[in-house]
Symmetry: C2
Subunit: 206 residues, 2 copies
């Protein structure tokens, strides 16, 4: 594993989650070792590139004639991605997508704990999937109390900027935005756009 002096290239870092997904699939099949050639074939990459990527994020070398040990690799990749320490997050908007995010159990695998959701509509307040849904105006209080810095924005387009502003003033510093809207945020707040329509459109156009 490289230290800070030799940072991992962005292009490599962007591929790590895909490696992790693939390796977990192999591990579930009971595969113990996997070669760079096999990874490359299955994932549509080049074997040389795979070896280079893995050498940058994993300390343990691959073994000639065998390849890489799957479980060791998974452990190293998770450590690289920071899945070994926990982060709290909240969901803003308890409609279809918001509820799906609230109930989704897959976050636990990535060191993320989704605490609760918020919504302006009184009829959405209550609980879903075993987690509470609060009125949006309690966001500042609850975010501050739990020191939550990450929010998932799952509100309609028209409400997105307002909800974003509320989140930012409540101390949120990173936003995963599902609304198809470009958000204006202060310096230092990170926004990641996850436009499901774009994802589908790109797939169609390939």
């Amino acid at each position: 594993m490289q230290s800070m002096q030799n940072p991992v290239p962005k292009a490599t870092a962007a591929r790590i989650p895909a490696y992790l997904r693939y390796l977990k699939g192999e591990a579930a099949k009971g595969v113990g070792c996997v070669s760079s050639a096999a990874i490359a074939r299955d994932m549509g990459l080049s074997a040389v590139g795979v070896r280079k990527d893995l050498s940058l994020v994993s300390s343990r070398p691959g073994r000639p004639r065998l390849g890489f040990e799957v479980r060791q690799l998974i452990s190293d990749l998770e450590k690289f991605l920071g899945y070994d320490h926990w982060t709290d997050a909240v969901v803003i908007g308890a409609g279809g997508l918001g509820r799906a995010m609230l109930a989704y159990d897959g976050f636990e695998n990535y060191g993320i704990h989704v605490v609760c959701a918020f919504d302006v509509a009184p009829e959405k307040v209550g609980s879903f999937g075993g987690k509470p849904v609060y009125p949006l105006d309690r966001l500042p209080q609850i975010a501050a109390r739990n020191a939550v810095k990450v929010a998932v924005l799952a509100v309609p387009r028209s409400a997105a900027q307002a909800a974003c502003d509320a989140a930012v003033s409540a101390g949120i510093r990173a936003i995963l935005n599902f609304a198809p809207v470009y958000l204006t945020v202060p310096e230092g707040v990170k926004v990641r756009y996850e436009d499901l329509a774009v994802a589908l459109a790109q797939l169609c156009g390939e």
Copy 2:
């Protein structure tokens, strides 16, 4: 706009949806022209890169002192992305996420028509958001009748590979997969992974 001899770089193509999202936001604000410097500032890119990107996908040049005409740009970007011809898609899985996808009205903006959903559970069959939900075993028939080639996979992890196989044998050639599972597909079938947990995890780790 470049022709086939000079294909648009992959890195540029990957940024086009972000440009489009930004430009639509500006258009909604009533902005008529926008400079490369303004785009770069708001989107966190370099002005030179923005000009290069835009010159590759838009035929109309920017004008000194004014910048680029927003509506013209939007039109060109949409044409580049293929949003000017329609594609049908189906959703497999009518749980929380599947229903959200079925009811989401944003696809229309991208030339995508979500036809219906499928689910194995009888109690999910019926309709949602004005669109029908069929039993999964009707997928081959309906996909063939409508010549649908694109599917959104929104089923639990344990059902993903089986649903994928069913989709492929029903003639589906492109899959947007939300299940956190690596799918094995025949040659020629495209899979795009959209792991919401990974998206959130990456945001946390940045």
